[in-house]
């Protein structure tokens, strides 16, 4: 009885697998970790982009955001002989060996959102230029406090490559004479954990009584900071800005703890990643500067030089979410 059930299940599964593998080309996206709504949206956008072109999409993400787990997944994808792998890296360098293995097996590799180093990718699909994101956030803080006062940064983990790149830009930017009256007190790390981010935000407020702005380039951090400021009744005295999901931040944008913040559309980003990848696999582009391709409904894109020495394609400037538009977006992503 049980045996026949197992058999039946196996036959069924084999049939579906066989059916799907008939579709010659499958494209895989490997996100950072599972259960992350930002990632789910990005993967959904990727899937939409791939399926629009009548191809198969494979969506993968490990249960914890580690490079080790992504390496194992990429090895499995190599064994499946997928056409292309779109990687949202948990580590800038650590995926290089396995991604080069993939390339050796004639699999095209490109990174999305959180990049891997140029040696392990054809190009990077960037949400926005790293410089622009860093600059925009510092400018936002400047505007919120009239160009004068103390600020602090509350990031994800100290190992997060995207966040670290943005923070680096912010620090460079703050050296400009324009920002001479703005003092960066501290870069704190909340490790993208709710409890730790809250403790760190509270610590910033307690350690630096003159703190005016917390910049948090990560959803968990910005929401935690918004929550702390709201609970402490500091709305209007201390501001939060940075990057965050509109859904998570709706409350704090509406109540004024965060006058405005930025993000891009993760669905569009995934969609762009899909089109860019298919163009790469089909040989329309190779990833060198000046390559052009059309990304479905998003229109035409050109590959440009990126800050890390490789090439990239940029989705567009970050989108500004404020009290006026947040209601439209909070239920979208």
């Amino acid at each position: 009885m049980r045996k026949s059930f197992v058999k039946a299940v196996m036959v069924l599964v084999v049939m579906t697998i066989a059916a799907t593998s008939l579709v010659a080309q499958s494209y895989a996206i490997v996100f950072k970790n599972t259960g992350n709504p930002y990632g789910e949206k990005q993967m959904a956008g990727f899937k939409a982009g791939i399926e629009e072109q009548k191809l198969t999409a494979i969506l993968r993400a490990p249960d914890a955001p580690t490079a080790e787990a992504q390496i194992a997944i990429i090895q499995q994808l190599i064994a499946q002989k997928v056409a292309g792998i779109c990687i949202v890296g948990n580590d800038f360098d650590a995926l290089q060996p396995v991604l080069q293995q993939a390339m050796k097996a004639n699999i095209k590799v490109w990174s999305l959102d959180s990049s891997v180093n140029p040696a392990s990718r054809a190009f990077h699909v960037n949400q926005s230029s790293t410089d622009l994101i860093g600059r925009t956030e510092v400018q936002a803080a400047y505007d919120m406090i009239g160009g004068k006062g103390e600020i602090a940064i509350l990031s994800a983990t100290s190992q997060a490559s995207n966040q670290n790149a943005w923070i680096e830009v912010m620090k460079q930017e703050l050296k400009l004479p324009k920002y001479k009256d703005i003092k960066l007190d501290k870069v704190a790390y909340g490790d993208d954990l709710r409890d730790k981010s809250v403790s760190e935000a509270q610590g910033l407020l307690a350690s630096f009584p003159n703190l005016k702005v917390i910049i948090a380039p990560t959803t968990v951090g910005i929401a935690a900071a918004g929550k702390v400021i709201t609970d402490k009744g500091l709305i209007g005295k201390v501001f939060v800005t940075g990057l965050g999901l509109p859904s998570e931040m709706a409350t704090y944008i509406e109540n004024g703890a965060c006058p405005y913040m930025f993000l891009w559309n993760p669905i569009d980003l995934g969609y762009l990643g899909a089109y860019a990848g298919v163009a790469l696999v089909n040989g329309k582009i190779t990833g060198k500067v000046g390559d052009k391709f059309t990304a479905g409904k998003l229109g035409a894109y050109t590959i440009t030089k990126s800050g890390d020495g490789g090439t990239e394609v940029i989705l567009g400037p970050p989108f500004k979410f404020d009290a006026k538009n947040i209601a439209d977006w909070k239920s979208v992503y």
Binding site: A28, Q75, A79, D91, Q159
Partner: protein
């Protein structure tokens, strides 16, 4: 009283032979493989089957000494942090100009020192359980790694270094060969030498072992150092696999490693177990991950499957093999606060 003949024949019976936990593991292993090859056309391919071992074997080096640790009735949750610290120091050493072979040696030395420090604490402070000692050093070792590398990654190793994790001799991955050698060595050490005998004796009855003149402190330190050394091996292969390293590598390895050892039939009460079980468990979990990964099963479903496998196999173990296994005491009847069995008032 008449002189009585005492035989020296070893007891042998078919029932005894087949009524072993390892057979169940073999069955599970075969089942996993059958299911996997049914699921994915890419699975049953000698090249990828043997080649895929490099995706899970780096952690396996920790399973070998952890088997010793758990047979001793202890537990070590600092292994993953030891991996991170030794990998970081190796990378920093190399980037500071040390030749790569020396940097690799440094990695093993550092990891062994970490193990020795654990052993030292356990021996000098017998009132403390191994959980407490290694919980503290777990935080400290990774803490040092963060202090050293901060938010940086370190790498740029010479190209040949990647051979460790990615290279193969013929169709057989280099890491599999090294692991086989290590597994053989640990198996012989545990089952064929006086050292292994001492480990079992201490796990069964630490006090009696001490009264029998076994240098229990030395054995604990030796096992801790071995654990450290193998953490260094994991660090080498993991770093080679990733081409660079960071303070947050190998996060959470300790629980996976402990799960494999226990799935392998080693009693967490100490004193019982064989090396074959944990080795089979490595391949069961490794191939299960790999095979289900080939059909792109979601990570959360995989979590449920592995969790269920763990519980089901132990359930079977208890219901079917319940008779001759010792009852389940706490995480380990180890040298716990105030109750050191080895300590006279």
């Amino acid at each position: 009283m008449s002189e009585r003949e005492i035989s020296i024949d070893r007891p042998r019976s078919l029932k005894r032979f087949f009524f072993q936990w390892e057979w169940l593991l073999v069955l599970i292993f075969v089942a996993v493989n059958i299911i996997n090859s049914g699921l994915s056309p890419y699975y049953l391919n000698f090249g990828s089957l043997i080649g895929s071992t490099n995706s899970f074997l780096d952690m396996a080096f920790l399973v070998l000494p952890m088997t010793f640790v758990i047979i001793l009735g202890n537990i070590d949750i600092s292994v993953a942090s030891t991996v991170a610290l030794s990998a970081v120091i190796m990378a920093v050493g190399f980037n500071a100009g040390l030749p790569m072979p020396l940097a690799m040696l440094l990695c093993l030395v550092v990891s062994t020192l970490c193990g020795l420090f654990n052993g030292f604490l356990m021996v000098k402070f017998k009132e403390l359980s191994a959980v407490i000692v290694t919980l503290s050093t777990m935080i400290i070792y990774r803490g040092i790694a963060y202090v050293i590398l901060e938010d940086q990654a370190a790498g740029h190793f010479p190209p040949w270094f990647s051979f460790l994790a990615w290279g193969s001799i013929g169709p057989v991955p280099f890491i599999l060969i090294v692991f086989a050698v290590c597994a053989l060595a640990f198996g012989l050490l545990l089952h064929k030498t006086s050292f292994g005998r001492k480990v079992f004796a201490m796990g069964n009855n630490l006090t009696a072992a001490r009264y029998s003149g076994i240098k229990t402190d030395s054995v604990i330190i030796a096992v801790s150092a071995l654990t450290g050394l193998m953490a260094g091996f994991t660090a080498l292969f993991l770093t080679s696999r990733m081409g660079s390293t960071r303070p947050n590598v190998a996060l959470g390895y300790e629980l996976s490693v402990i799960a494999m050892v226990v799935l392998g039939g080693v009693s967490t009460a100490g004193g019982a177990g064989r090396i074959g079980g944990p080795i089979l468990a490595i391949f069961i979990i490794g191939y299960l991950n790999y095979g289900l990964g080939l059909v792109n099963i979601k990570a959360n479903v995989l979590l449920i499957i592995i969790g269920s496998l763990l519980i089901l196999s132990v359930l079977v173990l208890n219901l079917r093999f319940g008779g001759h296994r010792r009852p389940a005491p706490p995480i380990a009847r180890m040298i716990a606060a105030g109750k050191a069995p080895d300590e006279k008032a």
